[in-house]
Symmetry: C2
Subunit: 138 residues, 2 copies
Amino acid sequence: MNIGEAAKASGISAKMIRHYEGIGLIEESRRSPGGYRIYSNNDLHTLSFIKSSRSLGFSLDQIKQLLSLWQDRGRASSDVKALALQHIKELDDKIAELSAMRNLLQNLATECHGDNRAECPILQGLEQQCGEAKAKKT
Amino acid sequence: MNIGEAAKASGISAKMIRHYEGIGLIEESRRSPGGYRIYSNNDLHTLSFIKSSRSLGFSLDQIKQLLSLWQDRGRASSDVKALALQHIKELDDKIAELSAMRNLLQNLATECHGDNRAECPILQGLEQQCGEAKAKKT
DNA sequence: CCTTGACCTTGCCATTGTGGTAAGGTCGAT
DNA sequence: ATCGACCTTACCACAATGGCAAGGTCAAGG
């Protein structure tokens, strides 16, 4: 099947399929005489695996590892689990970070009348030491 | 004060201060005869405001709006609150998305023995319809 | 046989926010 | 005069995705 069909079937855009090939996440596909990429059901299976992994928030780099474990019959499930647990931790950290932001902001917003007067606890909060909320990049 | 001191005092890197100037988030600063940027306490105040806003997860675009409201004596606090509520919604959406991922992944991980055998429910989950987890970009 | 339209190809640019590096200028102190 | 610490601009990079443009392929229908 062509890339368009593979895209539709896998839920990954044609653009991204080409990109994944370019960065070596998937192998270069076979080509038709005219140069069109051709995908087998097996390829589609791989694309779907990638799609699922992306849906769970794994990075392309992590997916590269997942893929090689997936294709390694001699893998230890502990290796997979380690990757998963690490990602769960990343998710938890991010969730905690966002929740902290949310709560701080919610507090400020609650105090704000939200009328046509200029006085505004939200702006006052931002003006002050509000930066205490440590928001680290991950 | 020079950009280095302003950076240290505001918690925003010199690199970013220049960048913010470049994209018009802050005005071009005064310059010393030698071409060095010079910052006043007032400028520092603005930088701190930006820092706080970033800590709460506002985008630079949103911060541009916040800044103009902040500097507008005739603002209505409702406008600020609207911005804040919108951002809270964004945060909530993101948190919900990440939590959904986390929970799905946690379920898979719980079922995985994590030993040296190859059988692995996590990989099996990714292989199957796991893509059900709709993870939309925001 | 030739045209048309749908699909494919590559390649480059944009996004968001931040970091890095390089080549050079400034400044204060010795 | 010189040295080190700081500054300047101007590029490149990341991650993951989208968009556009100029051109090639292919199948169907006239």
